[in-house]
Symmetry: C6
Subunit: 198 residues, 6 copies
């Protein structure tokens, strides 16, 4: 499975961390563009709160297009589709917020996402990152998937300090308080292969 997390050739694919009834897991956020009129489609067997995260991410990007170097006219010319495999698993909660926003920034800038990086955190409409639950289980899942770097909310730092050191050794943590920090860590300068010129 390793190549799944090391490959960053495609825009809009970002690794998140999920916490389910059977433990931690990694999940992918995928997003794509197609010519259209600005609609957004969300799939992946998602609950109401997780769909709202996608809406918040999209609206935050629209409201701050200039900050990310995105021409706002693009939003009216393309449809966006955000998907979270695997469809058989119901998913909900706000913790994929920063992953979704990172996916969309990669998509609209056609920049590569950093390899071997995962993240978890709620996003707010003004770009603040909020802490989320299940940190220990998520970290264990990340290690199993050979993730190297993890972005968390500053307020989740205390949860990491409570984890035995052997479980976190070899992992680099980035503690953030707003989305700009997430983007600075996660989005590289390099364009994806066959980048679309939007």
């Amino acid at each position: 499975e390793r190549d799944k997390y090391e490959n960053n050739d495609v825009a809009g694919v970002v690794t998140g961390l999920a916490w389910t009834s059977v433990g931690g897991d990694i999940l992918f956020i995928e997003s794509i563009l197609s010519k259209g009129k600005g609609t957004m489609t969300i799939t992946g067997n998602l609950g109401k709160v997780m769909k709202e995260s996608a809406t918040i991410a999209m609206e935050f990007i629209k409201s701050n297009a200039d900050r990310f170097g995105i021409n706002p006219e693009v939003f009216d010319k393309y449809n966006v589709h955000i998907h979270v495999p695997e469809g058989a698993t119901p998913k909900d909660g706000p913790s994929a917020g920063i992953t979704m926003l990172t996916s969309l920034v990669s998509l609209f800038t056609q920049k590569k996402v950093k390899k071997s990086l995962a993240m978890t955190g709620e996003i707010t409409l003004r770009g603040k990152v909020l802490p989320v639950g299940g940190i220990k289980e998520k970290i264990l899942a990340a290690k199993r998937a050979r993730i190297k770097e993890i972005i968390l909310c500053e307020d989740n730092r205390k949860d990491i300090l409570e984890i035995k050191e052997e479980y976190v050794s070899g992992l680099t943590f980035h503690y953030v308080t707003d989305m700009q920090e997430v983007i600075d860590v996660a989005i590289t300068e390099e364009s994806v292969k066959n980048a679309k010129s939007l």
Copy 2:
């Protein structure tokens, strides 16, 4: 957490007081604008009544645009998104009405909201402010969050008088009967940083 409530650099962010099954809590109302055609999006895991509060606030502003110095043509050129973190918590009830309206006035005027201020109250379509429940629990939460000033409905004055003085010492209360009083207290003359010219 203190800086959360002291920072007022961003338009549309206002502190409200909530009353949940586990006690009082503070919550934020966030709103943003993006180029669009006048749609309104509401997120934050809100129930029907709380969504209605957002609709009432928006329609009240549209109907009274001149009173607030807002060019009504703005409403057709931007989409508004109102969000209430934290997504994992279901929220409902009418008591965020005046907070939502204050958020939208700040947003459309790009004026700063007063620092260290929180509020709770139902809004009506003609701008009257109605009393709400859970006052004692909300006040305790406000003190814990180092709020300094609180706006309440005049009809909630009696609830404050029933609270032990040590719990309210250091808090300034503004008792109001209509939204204009709320705006007079809450919206400053100062524009936010990087104010958008709508």
Copy 3:
């Protein structure tokens, strides 16, 4: 609370009588206009039948615009919002029909509603007024709120006759069979303060 019912400075605010599981109560119908394309929004935690009353009232006015001296082109240029505080209380049933229609006539004519007046009755699409239940409880609530005049359906006259005289002394009753009679009693010749020129 008295000034609530004595004040008629705002167009579209009318006092209704409600009958809930905990007894009679008064309620307000509020309506406002904003520049738009003719949509109608209804809020206040209302059930299906009460929302239908608002639709019936609006369609009746549109179909009889000339009778009320309303320029029908107005309907396409403004959005109407009808709200019934208090949002925390679920409300349903057809008995606010004549109150809603009175509110809309006041709104579209910008005429003041008579002071200290309350009403309850179902409206039909051809303008007939139908009797409603809970009359005794509603009358007691009206007296507590210092209402002076009450509009009821002619078919509810018998319900008033069954109430002890001391409970109805000081109240003037207007028994009606169609909406024109309601309007004749309720809408004054005087324009509201700062009347909008539609």
Copy 4:
């Protein structure tokens, strides 16, 4: 109540017969026109099947406009609203079909409906009239309301023959098999007062 059923001054008001858990009852179908773009609104606390009857009636009229002498361009210039008082009573079933169609024919032709006439029967899309249940209870309700003539499906003739003669004395029955017969009986040659010129 008598004048309710004898008055036919208004277009679109037709008397139907209903069968509820507490016995037979009469009901009115009301319909009105307002300037618009051809939408149809249906109110009256109706179930799915009764709403479908309204849709069938409207589509049948549109498809057979010439037969009824209606200019088909009218359908795009007016909105139609069909309402069934009394809103507090849930209503369902297909038996108001012919009443609704009669209401719409009266509305679009602005012709008076025959006085003291009631009817019950399901309508099909090709204009056939189908039999319905609860005939005995409906007839008793019609007599109580001083109805003089009743339109029924031919297949309901047998139900009338089973009723004691004293209950049906003084009533004239019209047994029909298709809508044209209903219209021939129910719609007069006379225009309503203040007929709209569509």
Copy 5:
């Protein structure tokens, strides 16, 4: 009732066979056209699967317009309404698929449907006919209604062979595998009375 099944003067009326909890029954599919923009309305108290059959039938006709000699521009100029009396009976399942498609072919070609013919079978999007259940009960109902010819899926031939000969004597069976065979049997060369020129 006989004339019901012998009459084929109206386009779009086709006899189907249904299987309900109380045995077999015959049902009609009715469809009509009205000037419009290409919408489709479906009524008759139908469940989700039966509504899907109508959608499949309509889309199959649109995709194969030339095969049926239909000018595809017609689809944008008329609204189609498909109805299945009797509204009081909930109906569901895929077995009316070929009946619905036959109804629509008759409607859009304005050709008469063969007299005394009934049918039952699921339709697929590529025009294949699939077998359905309840064959014995349906055949008995068809005989009671004096149906003479029946169209069934080839895969239902075995179900007919299991029925006592006396029950099927006098009935002609057409076993088909795709819709073209259904149309060849069911749609005559003759135009309906007062055929619309589409």
Copy 6:
């Protein structure tokens, strides 16, 4: 039944493998085009996740039109309908994803699908193929239906290795990791009979 799986004359028909409570089964995905404005209709008594698979397949094709040699203007000029017989059986889950995408590629290229081929696998928005469950039951169903070749996710290879050899003898397996491999196996160079020129 054999010809069902050997016939590939029609564009858009692809054989999938399903796993239900009563064992494995084969199913067809059918898709057709009609002149329109780019809407997508999905039928077949499908659950939410299976409908999402159709959406994902369609959006993936739109986003990668050039890769498949499809003129993107086609998407706005035709409506797509995807159907999964048999309507009486509820169906859900993500495992028809690759079958749906193959159906759409055949449809938009008007190329024949390889004969005697079946497939099962989840699709992601970036074209990766994910493993699915019920492999053993699906393989048995495929053999019964005389399928010759099967496409599976590489991660499902281990499930095949656990099946007794006699059950898989005579079957050719194609293990894939992304959709391009599926298309390479499944879509032939040959156009369907009467190919539409899109």
